[in-house]
Symmetry: C2
Subunit: 358 residues, 2 copies
Amino acid sequence: MTEAVSRPTLEAVAARAGVSRATVSRVVNGGDGVREPLAERVRRAVEELGYVPNQAARSLVTRRHDAVAVVIAEPETRVFTDPFFALQLRGISKELTAHDNQLVLLLTEGRADHARVARYLAGGHVDGALVFSLHLDDPLPGLIHDAGVPTVFGGRPDWGADTRAADPGVVYVDCDNRGGARAAVRHLLDLGRRRVAHITGALDQTSAVDRLDGYRDVMTDVLGEYDPRLVEESDFTPSGGERAMRELLDRCPDVDAVFAANDLTALGALRVLRARGRRVPEDVAVVGFDDMVPVTEQADPPLTTVRQDIEEMGRLMARLLLRGLSGAREGTDTTAGAQEAPPSEVILPTTLIRRASA
Amino acid sequence: MTEAVSRPTLEAVAARAGVSRATVSRVVNGGDGVREPLAERVRRAVEELGYVPNQAARSLVTRRHDAVAVVIAEPETRVFTDPFFALQLRGISKELTAHDNQLVLLLTEGRADHARVARYLAGGHVDGALVFSLHLDDPLPGLIHDAGVPTVFGGRPDWGADTRAADPGVVYVDCDNRGGARAAVRHLLDLGRRRVAHITGALDQTSAVDRLDGYRDVMTDVLGEYDPRLVEESDFTPSGGERAMRELLDRCPDVDAVFAANDLTALGALRVLRARGRRVPEDVAVVGFDDMVPVTEQADPPLTTVRQDIEEMGRLMARLLLRGLSGAREGTDTTAGAQEAPPSEVILPTTLIRRASA
């Protein structure tokens, strides 16, 4: 183990210079109020010992770490199996690196660890946080709010009962989930399909709720009403998509189209349709959401889907946070109405990408 | 944006109590040397303002964060596409969470960012670091050594020209790369194959060098000599495996077996063999390394490989680091010979797993 013992401490410098720790700290951090001969003695001791100032001490003064935390409110197993998160992190990583900021990814095993994450965020180790994949009633936003850490959220937050964090100044980036879902369902109806099913995402997340609303909008608009048995709740995973597709086929054998809440769900549905001998798109047309290339292109058949630019979403989150931080550093007024104020919400557009499945 | 302005500062407490910042800091951190009426005034101000001590200040005194950094010396794109890293992080995450330590994953775009990572590590934000996938001549170990951060390495480090970090007390966890490679090649020779090729990993990593050495050991032992044209350098990726397999088939069309440096490389080789009409294992037998389940089980044909327990490797790295840290905290002598001293190297065994490909 590389031991810390060889590193000269502030105490050692103080002893060498014959001054107090506070005096060393003041000199090292460029503060005033230390007489010149004393300051010179400290600087000489720093040089002789090869002392490197502890950044924790430094940051007490400068309040800058050039580091940004990323918190994905999912267990680490999910973070590493759902390509959505890798794409979002790619955008964040590029943007932070371009500004020489360190990306600090805080991983957890699950919601029980969120208090520890909030402790770390409150601990003065980062300048701000990017938080995404929140679920309803997660204590994290409230804890982060109390910790006073500047934050940009990915996805529209729903605070539920925890109103502490329901700040009107909250900044978030999202895509047009409802509009994208409408385009998907309208496309299926335009193909002449009438028994259009929807496999939802995790309904404790606003993205899933908004996509379900978009489905309902169009089904009601065009058909006057819709059959609630055509909606099956799921969780954004391939296995969840498989389970839901089996349920739908058992309950409504006449289903002729499926709008899946994301591409991974659609892949699960495609597997079940193939296993049950239903041709896609001839018997059942399928549309996904996200456009997770190359998965969507390599699907059998290639998947028609609603594209959102996930990497760009990550990049934008990072950009908004850094802009807000530099505004705060320069003492710019970042409250509503000020020139430099970040917008409280940024909604990215979606596009329907037509491939073979619908 | 959630603003930090509402959070009372140390300065505010000092102003309220009519004392210096240093006095507030001393009281808050439980230090001595502050007279009782003054200390009482500070405590009252803390309570009235609802001041939460900044952990950066606190940690200057306690030197504990209950947080451990993980650094994977690869670009983040690789971290999220090679399942090896996800498995190792799984083991680390489980162990750290069991000890209520926060996993802090420091992502980079590449080696150019390693100085920034070292700065963060030196900044007093974590108690120690787990560092893996080092490449020869990476400045990171030297920088980490200078930062004085207790570290456990994954994989035997090769310092190259940078001898700063070549500390005899360095702790690392690895698997028996050379022994595993020997078992793989011996198995192929036992099957009666004589033109056994090897597709190497990235040869600036010790794992790749050790596996190549194991291949050479057995080929020389059994055949007396080996044909160097049967060795093709690659980089542990599927596309690298494809490229190398094409080279090998062009150069040595009589190749009848391949030992690939890892499973991802073997998958690439399998794809090329299929495309060139070579049957596996009838024409060419293939063995991988790692046993990345379920990829190896789902390969066509299922892949014979050398298993190492990657998740356990991560768990062990975390355990050794935490043990070393708690030894240091309790003032236990952690130098060589002491009871609590972590071993300087832990080598995990490997097992040959036979499936259909060889």
